[in-house]
Symmetry: C2
Amino acid sequence: MTHSDRPRPGAGLEAFFAARGIAVVGASEDYTKIGGRPVHLLRKYGYAGAIYPINPKGGEIQGLPAYASVRDTPQAPDMAVVAVPARAAVEAVRDCAARGVRAVVMLSAGFAEAGPEGAEMQAEMVDIAREAGMRLLGPNCLGTVSVAEAAIGSFSVVLEEYMPSAGDVGIVSQSGNVGSFAMQNIVQRGLGVSRFIATGNEADVDVADGLAALVDDPATRVILCVMETCRDAGRLIEALELARTRGKPVIVLKIGSTEQGQAAAASHTGALAGSDAVIDAVFRRHGALRVHSIEALLDVAHAASQLMPHRLPKGNRVALVAASGGFGIMMADAMANAGMRMPALADATRERIRAALPGAGTNNPVDASAQVSSRPEILLSVLSALMDDPGSDATLLFLSLSLYNSRLRGVYMQALAQVREAHPEKLLMVISRGPADAVAEINALGIPVFPTIDAAAQGLAGLVRLGGLATQPAPLGCRGAAAPLPAEVFRNEYHAKKILAAAGVPVLDEAIATTADDAARHAARMGWPVVLKIVSEDIAHKTEVGGVELNLASEDAVRAAYARILARVAERAPGARVEGVLVAPMARGGTELIMGVSRDPVFGPVVMVGMGGIYAEVLKDVAVQVAPVSEDEALAMIRGLKLFALLDGARGQARADVQAAARTVARLSEFACRHAADVAEIDMNPVLVKPEGEGVVVLDALMIPPREPQSVH
Amino acid sequence: MTHSDRPRPGAGLEAFFAARGIAVVGASEDYTKIGGRPVHLLRKYGYAGAIYPINPKGGEIQGLPAYASVRDTPQAPDMAVVAVPARAAVEAVRDCAARGVRAVVMLSAGFAEAGPEGAEMQAEMVDIAREAGMRLLGPNCLGTVSVAEAAIGSFSVVLEEYMPSAGDVGIVSQSGNVGSFAMQNIVQRGLGVSRFIATGNEADVDVADGLAALVDDPATRVILCVMETCRDAGRLIEALELARTRGKPVIVLKIGSTEQGQAAAASHTGALAGSDAVIDAVFRRHGALRVHSIEALLDVAHAASQLMPHRLPKGNRVALVAASGGFGIMMADAMANAGMRMPALADATRERIRAALPGAGTNNPVDASAQVSSRPEILLSVLSALMDDPGSDATLLFLSLSLYNSRLRGVYMQALAQVREAHPEKLLMVISRGPADAVAEINALGIPVFPTIDAAAQGLAGLVRLGGLATQPAPLGCRGAAAPLPAEVFRNEYHAKKILAAAGVPVLDEAIATTADDAARHAARMGWPVVLKIVSEDIAHKTEVGGVELNLASEDAVRAAYARILARVAERAPGARVEGVLVAPMARGGTELIMGVSRDPVFGPVVMVGMGGIYAEVLKDVAVQVAPVSEDEALAMIRGLKLFALLDGARGQARADVQAAARTVARLSEFACRHAADVAEIDMNPVLVKPEGEGVVVLDALMIPPREPQSVH
């Protein structure tokens, strides 16, 4: 199985969604068994196509004629659901291929997750499927459900109790159980589901397939994704880009964000975990909204489903209102923590509120006092004033107990319905934890309801990000592989910097001297003072062997220093091969950054930029992104550093040339991308960022080749 | 009204809780009015004492004889509830005092929150109450409810619908609405309430009173507190210490934690906000558990009510189990983020799990697979093995859909009941979001149930803190005011350091020279090299006027530097009064800290310690605590710094003498406390922390007197 064999993400998945005819291999009379359940569910929920129970015994199963093999079915089913032991399952896939089945759902376990023998059988299945142009979901998965079509290839426990109602939320999940849980929660919220896809071992169909198919699916308006691990970076990015360019929101719960969680994920999926920071950056760049809990996943998916495509907030300015000051304070805390802004209300807005409610506090949050609900017209006036406020992108109303009180509930419902009608475009949201029927009633008005203040703040911030995706520029692609690098770039800093300079990375004007006179001549040309550094691939720490002399201000000083360096190195590192002594101008002033490239096991070359120095190192104050990055992306990475203020004129210092730093990161990233095959790691440390307009300069650089000797040229 | 007039926290509040006889001033026939509601509620919920409606019209109100004034009641009521306009309310308080009422609940608004006139009336009421030995709750408050006694002095909307059941959770809240919301939530969770106290304007009774009274109250086992602002630091600390020493858990939702939230709080309460970091430190030191949402408040209060007094976790090691790997990963992420540890299970535990369930993953989190619920005895074996594991303090079970499935629900309930019975002492917790009746059933077993993974992780971390309070040492007190400081300490660093040295803060051996020879003589005594610094109260930035010379290694060098300094200062700061030139040994090596003292508007002198240098300044990497702090507390503050690794041997550096640094912070804090009246601010920057065993030394210090001239001596 090679990557190039694989169909493009999403190809052929419509055969799962709208299967004309479904065979169930391993069908059983007992519908509590995995093989019995699909037949039972297809009938129970009214699947309109033909159902073919497959069982070597033949006869009748759950009232339907059974067949000994898929090969025997009167017509070729589009989809086959397989629930027989692994060895028999491989044969079933062969039968499916022979019969012209287009999509196989492999519920059975005992494959790659069970050991090498299982992995071999899994590979065999994939070969059969690819050969036949069939898509294979699983194995070891919870399968798929298309709700409107009642096309069910799953034994999810949720379906034991009820079928979700048809709706516009599509679910793709690696974990069947987490996906099922999400589906059940969606149903409980009164939302509908379009498709459910659980990918399990991802032998063929992976999360990227599911994402891409849901982007193409007209029944799906919002995509909800649960990921444990990414097995193929290119396909994931391709699918995310498809969603981004089509404007279909993808909300991702990527679990395993901590070291402990990743350890648990590794033991569960057996897949190699990439860096969480890298995949986080990938989601951000390619337009997916990452959340960190099932609750946030559902909250945002629910609101997005209500607000798509025109009512997502256009910015992060929110007007807050509660009937009590205490709740206003909590809302302000939560919004500030979520990065939302609470601008002062316009004078006209404040006057309208005061006219309706003389006792109200008209700061933002508005303290509307209990009087606001004394009459529906007061509430209506206050909410209308806020909805008309030109300085906010959304209005958020907190309701604590009011909906539990039958008198107040009526007042609120009436006002909310009127405000919603009068302001069809602007976002109004409510925070309330119940009662459930009141929440459903508000949701039915098209007003998103969040259960808690924190959920509303985080959710609103997420919706703002989704609302801004349309204006997000398309990410860069790699311009293709460059000619292989000469081996010398891995030997010392001089050659590493030379090759980086050719790629547009600013370095000092340096030279390698092999005699003292040579050194003095180079120095005189460069201007004073200069530094000398020993050049030897055998010496990692130049200072420790006395291989560095700083601040040399004359030709004589250079000659003397040259001699001292060679003498010390000869004494302290007698076996070292010495290529010469590096002469460089002594750079001073500016702020130190570090920049670098590493190789993520999933996403390949990753560019990094961080503050220099030991403080920043202890803080891990770095930003990462998959290479290449644009200058704008690099700028955003730098601006996001915790210590960015140090570059931005903190404590009255000159502002640093951040633009030049960003340009350097971008060029480094392009270099890394074009040399992905022959460079494993690049460290540029320190990179001196000079005052605005004066640029940056890389003082030291190191390149490390990949471990496999054959890819070093 | 002065502080000394005020009764000790909690004194006299039993008159609210167990009032024999309640008068309602402003009683009305209409029970939807504020004055009508208490009479209605007292009757509806079966208050057993006498109810005296007070109304100038006399006659009958809600079937009870009404009186024109509290003075006319046949017996003196313990409590009077007042709901008449402000002016009349003051008279009512006077009547209450004359009649011998012990506790007044002032529901009326229009006092301090309404302006200066209202503030005057409020002060008048307090004077009357203090004079008569009455306690006054409010004004502008939602009053109080004692559930078992049905002693109600409140118009909370919650009581319109039902009375909470009597239980052991006491609520004290500044915000009536937030307190009511909490009460309603507690009821919905099936928990009972002992008392509800909403303090409003806090003219007399404040949160500290409420806390102390609930500590004394045998009906209350867990105290839930909502605070917007602290008006009296001493009383708050006294009440928190009472709770801590009696071992009664206090869980606090202090709102207004961000700048934006504090702005909202200031406009709502009119009270001065102290620093959030300071009050956070106060809660931590005095044993209160601070939470950051209503949901967390309720989750922890609920669990604490179930686990008090013997089942709180003894440490932060947790064993996790779920029927699916995906949920395990999420649990591991959440626990890691909450600071919990997930140690590997003992071999015996793993063997027992494998014996019961051959397919289970026996790492921690345990991946028990769906098979775990196939038979009750399997589940029981797995849970029992985890509860017996010697390496964990708690076991946490995640349930997603199982409780919604009638078949699985029975399996889980049976196993949970058996495990609980077999392990009466060890903590077992469940994560489940429903259904509500199943959650109630698990709670009834004494097993805390959290609704989400994040809530469980944060909640468990909170319970661990509550469980550790018993071993927390008592905080230090201030040893009393010291003799006033001489004015010269505010004049220059030399005198500031001298007085700090006398308090045990290590400084250099320094001297002020007034001639070049003088300087050279001092330097020779100190050893080489030395530094010279100009001493002038008119020069804030010594370096900028050329007032500093470093690294002087001989008497001649000192004499020459002395002359240069005086010449430059004469030229660049011609009007400056010069006291002399400071001679000090040149300190080198070590890591820089900053230490200081500032004055919090609420809590008084606060000691601060942080990493030195511009990086740390930009990061605001500091810890604060109200002075004085013990050496152990100071050590914990230093260890909590983000950049602590720099003191702890990061990058192969020598470990710094953190103990000496802590000792210095403790001494500085004691000094600040004893000089609270005459020092507003102290800055020690930098403080050089040398390698372990070599101590610290303060290189520069500055003291600033309070603004009021009379308190400077």
